[in-house]
C-alpha cells in the first residue's frame, strides 16, 4: 500500500513538474525598442527591431545636385522626374511590435533658395529601382510624367489640392480666391506647400517584419529660384547640402479627446464604434466632469446618454469612428462647431461616421428645432 502511494505520489509530482516547466516555457516576452544602422556608400539602409534604443540614422552632409528648377504643383510638368534628385533608403522592422519612422530633412543655411522635398514609401517588393544619379535632361524625350511626379500629385489630392496645369488651366487659377492673378497664384502655391509640409511630417508605419523603401525626392521650386526650366541646355542651379535624419521607434498613436454631450432633456442611448462600422469602442473613457479617465468596460459600444451628460473618449487621430443614437423616436440630431452633422439612418437612428480631424473634438446631441416649436 505504501509502495502504491509512493508510485502515485511520484506520478503526480512528475506531472506537476512538467506543468511547471511548461509555465516557464510559455512565458510572454518583454521587449523594448532597438535601432541599428547600416550605411553603404550609395544605397542607404537601416534596420530596426527590438533590443535597445539608439540614436536615429543620419545621412550627413548629403549633396543634392540639381540641374534645373521645376514646379511640383503643375500638372503639366512632365520633366519633373528628370530634374529631381532621389535618395532611396531601404528600411526593415525586425522587431515584434509595430514601428514608425519619422524623416527629418535639414537644410544647410548657405543653400541656394528653392529646395523642396517630398517623402514617401513603398513596400520593398514593389519599389521602383532607381539610383541616385541625375538623368541627362537633354537626352530625355519622354512626354509623360514619371513615378515621382505622379506620387506627389496623388498626395496633393488627398489634401484637397488638385494639381493645375499652369499652361492650360488659367481659368482654374483665375477662379482661386485672391485680389489679382499673382495673389491667386501665391495662394495656390501656399496651399500646395502647406499640403507638402503636412505630408512630409507624417510617420511611416512598419508592421513587424515589414520591409519598405523610403524615398526622399528633392527638387528646386520654380517660383522660388531665379531660373527657368530649359530642357535644351545644361542649366545647373548648383549644389544643395542637407542632412537627413531617420528616427525609428515603436509606433505611438496620437489620440485626441472627443467630448459628446447630450443636451436633450431626455435620456438616449449613444453607441460608439471605432472602425466607422462595427468594432465597438475600446480605450479610455470618462463620464461627467469629476471622474477620471479609465478603460471602457461596457459592451455593445454603449457609452451613455443621460440627459445633460458629457462623455469623453479618446479617438486615434485619423481613425474613423461611428456614433449612433438609438432610434428615430428621439427628436435629436448631432451638431459640432460648424452646425448640424450626421444623417438619419432608417430605424437605426441618427448616425455620424467620420474622423476627429474632420469633425473636431466636441459633438453635441441637440433637440430637433421642429420639436421645440410651440404647439
Amino acid at each position: 500500500m505504501q509502495k502504491k502511494s509512493k508510485t502515485i505520489f511520484t506520478a503526480v509530482v512528475t506531472v506537476l513538474f512538467v506543468l511547471s516547466v511548461s509555465y516557464f516555457a510559455l512565458l510572454a516576452p518583454t521587449t523594448a525598442w532597438y535601432y541599428q544602422e547600416d550605411t553603404t556608400s550609395r544605397n542607404y539602409s537601416f534596420t530596426f527591431g527590438d533590443f535597445k534604443m539608439e540614436e536615429e540614422a543620419r545621412v550627413d552632409d548629403l549633396t543634392v545636385p540639381l540641374r534645373a528648377a521645376t514646379r511640383f504643383a503643375d500638372a503639366g510638368e512632365v520633366l519633373f522626374d528628370e530634374v529631381a534628385h532621389v535618395v532611396k533608403v531601404d528600411a526593415e522592422n525586425l522587431g515584434g511590435v509595430k514601428g514608425q519612422v519619422v524623416v527629418n530633412v535639414q537644410e544647410d543655411d548657405n543653400n541656394p533658395a528653392g529646395l523642396k522635398w517630398f517623402i514617401y514609401d513603398t513596400p520593398q517588393n514593389t519599389a521602383t529601382v532607381t539610383d541616385n544619379e541625375i538623368p541627362d535632361v537633354t537626352a530625355n524625350t519622354t512626354a509623360t510624367k514619371g513615378a515621382y511626379k505622379t506620387a506627389i500629385e496623388t498626395m496633393l489630392t488627398q489634401y484637397s489640392v488638385t494639381p493645375l496645369d499652369y499652361k492650360t488651366d488659367q481659368t482654374a487659377i483665375n477662379a482661386l480666391s485672391g485680389a489679382s492673378y499673382d495673389a491667386k497664384y501665391e495662394t495656390y502655391n501656399a496651399t500646395a506647400s502647406a499640403a507638402l509640409d503636412a505630408h512630409n511630417a507624417q510617420k511611416i508605419l512598419f508592421d513587424p517584419g515589414e520591409e519598405k523603401v523610403i524615398y526622399v525626392v528633392f527638387w528646386a521650386e520654380y517660383g522660388e529660384v531665379e531660373s527657368s526650366l530649359d530642357v535644351s541646355s545644361a542649366v545647373t542651379l548648383g549644389n544643395y547640402s542637407v542632412d537627413i535624419d531617420f528616427e525609428a521607434g515603436p509606433y505611438m498613436p496620437e489620440y485626441q479627446t472627443l467630448s459628446i454631450t447630450n443636451t436633450y432633456s431626455g435620456d438616449i442611448n449613444m453607441r460608439l464604434y471605432l472602425d466607422g462600422s462595427t468594432t465597438q469602442y475600446t480605450g479610455l473613457y470618462k463620464v461627467g466632469s469629476g471622474s477620471t479617465m479609465q478603460e471602457y468596460s461596457a459592451s455593445g459600444g454603449l457609452i451613455g446618454g443621460i440627459a445633460g451628460q458629457t462623455v469623453e473618449v479618446q479617438i486615434e487621430v485619423g481613425t474613423p469612428f461611428k456614433l449612433t443614437v438609438a432610434s428615430t423616436g428621439f427628436p435629436v440630431h448631432f451638431e459640432n462647431a460648424s452646425g448640424g452633422i450626421g444623417t438619419v439612418s432608417g430605424v437605426s437612428g441618427k448616425v455620424i461616421t467620420d474622423t476627429i480631424s474632420n469633425l473636431g473634438n466636441r459633438i453635441n446631441i441637440v433637440q430637433d428645432a421642429a420639436q421645440s416649436q410651440e404647439p
Partner: protein
Amino acid sequence: MKRVSILRIVRNVFLIAATLVIAFTAVMLVSGTKAFAVESDSMSPRLHRGDVVFVRRADFDTLAKGDIISAHFPNGDGIFTHRIILVDAEKKQVYTRGDYNLSDDPMPTDASHIIGKLWFSLPYLGFLSLSAQGFTLIYILLGVAIVLIAVRFIFARRRKTDC
C-alpha cells in the same frame, strides 16, 4: 542492491527538486505575480536577454523613480520592462528608460498600462520560452514523464506478481 540504491537516490533528488519547482510556481501563481521572459538587453546590466522578471501589481502612488516596471505599449502591442525616471502624479503617468539605452523612451506610460513593479529576476530561465525549442522541450518532458510513470507502474505490478 547498489543499482536500486542509486536509482532511489536519483528518484529522491528528482522528487525534491520537482517539489521545489512546483512549490515555487504555485506561489507565483497564487500571489498573482506575473512573469515575463526578457527578450532584449535594453536594461543591461541589470537585466539581460534570457532573464525572467517577476512583477507584482503596485499602486501607482507607490511607484518611484528608480523602480523597474513592466507595462503594455500604448498601442497594447507587446510588453516592455524599463526603469522609471520620472513620476507625473498629476497626469498619473511615468516616464521610463532602458538602463542601456541612449535616450528616454519616446512617450510616457499611463498608469492603466502598468502591469507591475519588478519583484525579482532569475537568469537564463527565459531562454526556455525565447527559444524556438521551448515547445519541443515540453513535448519531450511530457513523453519522458509518461514513459517513467508507465515503467514505474509496470515494475510495481511485476513485483506484486512475483511476490
